[in-house]
């Protein structure tokens, strides 16, 4: 005879038991026990007395948990691997996204990644910010899935471990080279030279086309804006280097790197390709595209380095190796 209250209870336990084998046997044993206990304690079996026995037996979730004490979704020994692998995958994945955004290439790595073309530079920057958390969650999930399979089927497998030493990335204040007055002099001379060229030609980007005549590489407004941007970046670098004679602060470097990044962002929004003059035999658009991509990557890395340095100096007491 079937009792609804008992069948419902067993069905609930069944729902929580996430194992493939032995489920029916567990449920049959619980059923047999509850019926016998009820009969012995109450002399008869009804829905009402069964309810009392079931309440004493415990809630379905707790019962299922006790049967699954030895069952693990992801083994705890993989906790460190989960974060290391997610970090590595994220670095590669987001690197590909950055490459795709700057080169305007679509990247397909079926069935894992699909990175579409992100449009113009201003659209790409916005999308890159959106991609940041999404990429992390995706990579975290993918690594979880892999570790789940490893836990379930290959418990003895030895996963590769990588010691990642980030010291090379972080400036160590105690070993920081002191700013050099001669280098500063050279930088100031360079800045003066660049300013002189700009004031003389109204641009930094021109070609000599013979008999001392010059030709602009870009249309005048873009040329002026681009030149001023380069001069400003140069000026910030000189200013930062000068400040180091008085105070060493990662915050000043972060501010400088942030400002440089914003200037590069504004350069990317200039639509340089359309502003370039035609020059036979040279693909100026590709050359400048590559140069801007190169400097934007350098600027992004410098900004990240400054950020890591601040975080690291706050957290770091003695540990040198980040695992």
């Amino acid at each position: 005879m079937n009792y609804k209250v008992l069948e419902d209870y067993l069905e609930e336990i069944d729902h929580y038991l996430a194992m493939k084998e032995g489920k029916n046997e567990i449920l049959a044993e619980i059923k047999s026990h509850i019926l016998e206990k009820t009969e012995n304690e109450f002399g008869k079996i009804t829905e009402n007395v069964l309810r009392v026995t079931i309440e004493n037996y415990g809630n379905a979730k707790t019962i299922a948990e006790k049967y699954m004490e030895d069952y693990q979704i992801i083994s705890p020994i993989y906790k460190k691997y989960l974060f290391l692998y997610t970090g590595l995958l994220f670095a590669v994945h987001y690197g590909l996204i950055l490459f795709s955004a700057f080169s305007r290439y679509e990247i397909v790595f079926f069935p894992f990644f699909y990175i579409p073309i992100m449009g113009t530079a201003s659209q790409a920057w916005f999308k890159l910010i959106l991609y940041l958390p999404m990429t992390f969650f995706y990579d975290f999930g993918l690594i979880c899935l892999i570790l789940y399979f490893v836990t379930q089927y290959q418990k003895e497998i030895k996963l590769p471990w990588f010691e990642i030493n980030l010291n090379w990335l972080i400036r160590k204040p105690e070993k920081e080279e002191k700013p050099n007055i001669y280098l500063l002099g050279l930088m100031i001379l360079g800045l003066v030279a660049v300013l002189f060229i700009y004031l003389r030609f109204n641009t930094l980007f021109f070609l000599t086309v013979g008999s001392g005549k010059t030709a602009l590489l870009f249309n005048p407004s873009v040329s002026r804006w681009l030149s001023l941007s380069v001069i400003t970046i140069f000026f910030f670098e000189v200013l930062h280097y000068t400040s180091r004679f008085f105070i060493e602060s990662p915050w000043i470097k972060l501010t400088k790197d942030g400002a440089v990044l914003i200037i590069i962002w504004s350069i990317m929004n200039l639509q340089i390709g359309d502003a370039l003059i035609d020059f036979p035999g040279l693909n100026l658009s590709a050359i400048f595209g590559f140069i801007i991509l190169f400097f934007s990557i350098i600027a992004a890395i410098e900004f990240l380095k400054s950020l890591i340095e601040i975080l690291y100096s706050k957290k770091n007491a003695g540990s040198k190796t980040i695992k």
Partner: protein, 109 residues
């Protein structure tokens, strides 16, 4: 300080219950039967603790089981295996050693 004794007791019970079950199953018994026997000697075991434990011991080959119909109801009977007996012997020895150590540190009590 008011400690939650229950959690410590649960931890202590884990090992104790394993020995108790291995001792009980010298003769073939089913779950309810075993609970009643343990209860008669003045010790209470929760049914939702005993059954998962039986399953774990069985999966390690320390006890065996078979379904039989008794009093018009299918019941799962358990019995200790040879491997279980060998382990029981070792566990009892460990338990006695531990008991002696506790006694010595507790002034012979």
């Amino acid at each position: 300080m008011d400690f939650d004794v229950g959690k410590f007791e649960t931890e202590m019970n884990r090992g104790f219950l394993q020995i108790l079950v291995l001792l009980c199953l010298e003769k073939s018994m089913y779950g309810y039967n075993m609970l009643s026997s343990i209860s008669k000697i003045g010790y209470k075991v929760e049914e939702n603790t005993l059954y998962p434990l039986l399953r774990r011991l069985e999966s390690k080959g320390l006890i065996s089981s078979k379904w039989e119909v008794s009093e018009n109801r299918p019941k799962k009977f358990y019995k200790i295996t040879k491997k279980g007996k060998a382990l029981r012997k070792k566990l009892l020895k460990i338990w006695k050693t531990q008991n002696n150590i506790i006694k010595k540190f507790n002034g012979g009590k």
